[in-house]
Symmetry: C2
Subunit: 473 residues, 2 copies
């Protein structure tokens, strides 16, 4: 119960300071150190029954949303490898069988990690599922998305750089309250690499239990950040992404990607492309070859919303990680403009920032525009690296605010993108400081494909009669 | 013998056209298609004895040059895994035992690939070695470099994008005539990925036999190019660098690199850093972390010459692969300037180009220099991607020649860097068109560390009394 009290106190303190963003974030950082929740806290509680499944999480398993991968860990023995599931509570008509594996990281030995494909699901349906058996059995549910359709409404949550602090918990609980149906996760999960030796593996485990309150009930779409690299030569651990790849599955084979680190899914009315900031991406690399083909597959008539996720932001005016996205920008930005990507979400910087529609694709070393310029075909770039983690907030922004930056603030939070139909989506950045789902940056996002004048005329019936306040982009 | 005649004809034709570089290269491309030498040509001849070692190649195996890795392939059976070696011809005092492995690529099954570490060698010594036994035995020799010393003279060859055409053969034979002691290879070895299915593996084999005339007698220091990626999803082969990594060893463990694709060696008076253009290199990746530490280890008092190899050039004014080096430039260029790298060699572009000492490190998206500016601390960038391969020459340069470009020409060739002492080195680009080792671009390279006024005064005794003609850089 201690935990609850702590969170409430945090919210109260924050409410006192919501007048000025700068002061608020400074205040929080000094008064409320961004330390990890102690490992024995109930936020990481281990199911009591012997060898009960823990760290349960699901993700989309196919291209179009009719399959999930259900993953979990059994700590002491392999246990059952089966998922029982069905459309009625407590009545599990079907069974699927998965794989089990374990691994070491330094001297840490992981539990038994299960990944089970559950496919052939109906769209727009609630499924109940059960893991384990007897006393140790645990039950959950999830909802499949609507069939791929240009006007299918859907609400995505967007979370990055989450970690396992009290701020992380606040973000997670606020997200759960938001009614989001699927999380687009922007990399940097557990921050376990801030620990040493066997604690690294243990903090990956604790994080799996920490987020289970959401990940077991809805898909999280994973992208990998620098804290997933886990390059630790002093421990003899140099295989990049070892912990992450063992624990978090992605549907990369369904979209013909050769790596779980970059892939794409379609869900409701969205085509979502996940890129890997820390894998090779220059011309001729597998990620570059794959992305070139995947972009050609995007059909805005079927999935009007083209969304890209990556860890390192392409545009960022924070002092932290400034210009780290340049390497990827010079390779991919012209494609993002050519294909009229609607929005690109990134994490990495522990603050919130949104750009105008701008591009910087004309510079060619000896001529061309020097700085980013307004570009109607460009995506909106949004950094949501403020999930909350032990590294704290990134409070120093470039002064003055560059022309490309539309909104920025160093406060913890998450975002939601609520797609209404093929032309409009509601976007909100929800700041934790306000103690509840409070939209601090909110606007209506107009679809980049369907908002052309010609297409718009054809689609008058799709027009929204009313929109929420805020900018329309 | 047909081969010889062909090469002589080629040389004759070329000599007729050495007046104008532009015309020469155009002429060669149309009159002398850059096709691979037929697989049954004697350039790829297989040793006659059953299961005799083939594709013999050596590389430096440690940090300082007292060890080599000797590699070879036995086609039909594992055969002997031993290397016999010694300092007198036909008298092999010592024996080392290596490893053997094989692999598949699509349905191609490789021969038995041997890698044998031979260490504890004396500096500056000729070693003879023998592979196999009985009728199938083959004998070679190599020379170890001088002990690490700031004034140790040494002659490196620089070859890139070699392939297995008649032009490749010409480059190779010209290089052998040059008296170079070790090859710095800039990536793109066999161009086997221009073939399909089982021919890919077979063309890796033929290339190994093709270059054996040099690689079995002196170390080649390998870097990997895009033609080593071998990403071929249509064949089910998607593991990057699979053929290359099986066949070509590098001493990455000796310099604490976690990958054979990036590493460093010290040899005579040079510290050579090999980077991987197609591996992750942005901040926080293993290559970035490793390079940061390796640059701190460079001791210009011991190894005055700091040389970096990579496949994709940072500066290139050829239409081919224009700006492909930008991703790596924005990450590493400031380090190259900070550490006063002497020269950076790259391949990739099938032409020759040399830059002035320039840098482009002040641009920061909203301010800073727009274009590269003269910078005395910057490296000279040299592109030697003109080894000769079936893709032909890259004859279209940006017009006008940008300020940063000092010399450029689309002709086949190789370079040599002849280090004389801590302050001076002779550099030559040797154009094949001239039919013999003909220095078309030549200059004296002044060491970036020892050429400072203060250090120069201390070192008057090291000054060269006479230097060859050409620019001094």
């Amino acid at each position: 119960m201690l935990l609850r009290v702590v969170v409430v106190s945090f919210v109260f303190l924050s409410l006192l300071n919501n007048g000025n963003a700068g002061i608020t974030s400074t205040f929080i950082r000094s008064e409320w150190p961004s330390t990890d929740i102690p490992i024995d806290n109930e936020a990481f509680s281990i199911p009591k029954a012997h060898n009960a499944p823990q760290q349960v999480h699901i993700t989309q398993a196919d291209y179009d949303g009719r399959a999930v991968i259900i993953s979990w860990v059994t700590p002491d023995a392999p246990g059952s490898n089966k998922v029982q599931y069905g459309t009625a509570e407590k009545r599990y008509e079907f069974t699927a069988e998965g794989t089990v594996s374990n691994y070491t990281f330094y001297q840490y030995k992981s539990g038994y990690i299960h990944h089970c494909l559950v496919d052939g699901l109906e769209y727009d349906t609630k499924y109940y599922y059960k893991l384990g058996s007897g006393d140790s059995a645990r039950e959950f549910w999830f909802e499949t998305p609507p069939k791929i359709d240009p006007d299918a409404p859907y609400k995505f949550g967007i979370i990055g750089d989450l970690g396992q602090t009290y701020n992380s918990l606040s973000t997670l609980e606020h997200y759960i309250q938001s009614g989001g149906q699927t999380v687009l996760f922007l990399g940097d999960l557990s921050y376990a690499d801030r620990y040493q030796y066997n604690d690294v593996g243990l903090r990956w485990d604790s994080w799996g239990r920490f987020v289970e309150r959401s990940t077991s009930y809805q898909p999280w779409i994973w992208s990998a950040g620098n804290h997933e690299i886990d390059y630790m030569p002093y421990m003899g651990e140099v295989t990049p992404f070892k912990n992450f790849l063992q624990r978090y599955a992605t549907p990369h084979l369904a979209c013909k990607s050769s790596s779980p680190l970059w892939y794409a899914i379609r869900r409701a009315s969205a085509h979502i492309i996940v890129l890997s900031s820390y894998s090779p991406f220059v011309k001729y690399t597998p990620q570059w070859e794959w992305l070139r083909e995947e972009l050609q597959k995007v059909d805005r008539e079927k999935t009007p919303w083209l969304i890209v996720l990556m860890h390192v932001p392409i545009y960022n005016s924070n002092d932290a990680h400034y210009m780290e996205g340049e390497s990827m920008r010079v390779v991919f930005e012209s494609w993002f403009v050519q294909y009229k990507v609607d929005v690109i979400f990134a994490g990495h910087v522990h603050a919130y920032e949104r750009s105008y529609r701008i591009s910087n694709i004309h510079y060619n070393i000896t001529s061309g525009d020097r700085y980013p310029v307004p570009d109607k075909s460009a995506p909106v770039y949004i950094t949501v690296g403020d999930g909350g983690n032990q590294e704290g907030l990134a409070g120093r922004f470039l002064d003055p605010q560059p022309d490309y930056s539309a909104f920025r603030e160093a406060s913890y939070g998450h975002s939601t993108l609520e797609i209404k139909n093929r032309t409009h989506a509601f976007y909100h950045w929800n700041r934790n400081d306000d103690g509840k789902k409070s939209a601090t940056d909110a606007f209506v996002l107009r679809n980049q494909y369907w908002s052309s004048n010609q297409r718009r005329r054809k689609l008058k019936k799709h027009y929204l009669k009313s929109v929420v306040g805020g900018t329309t982009i």
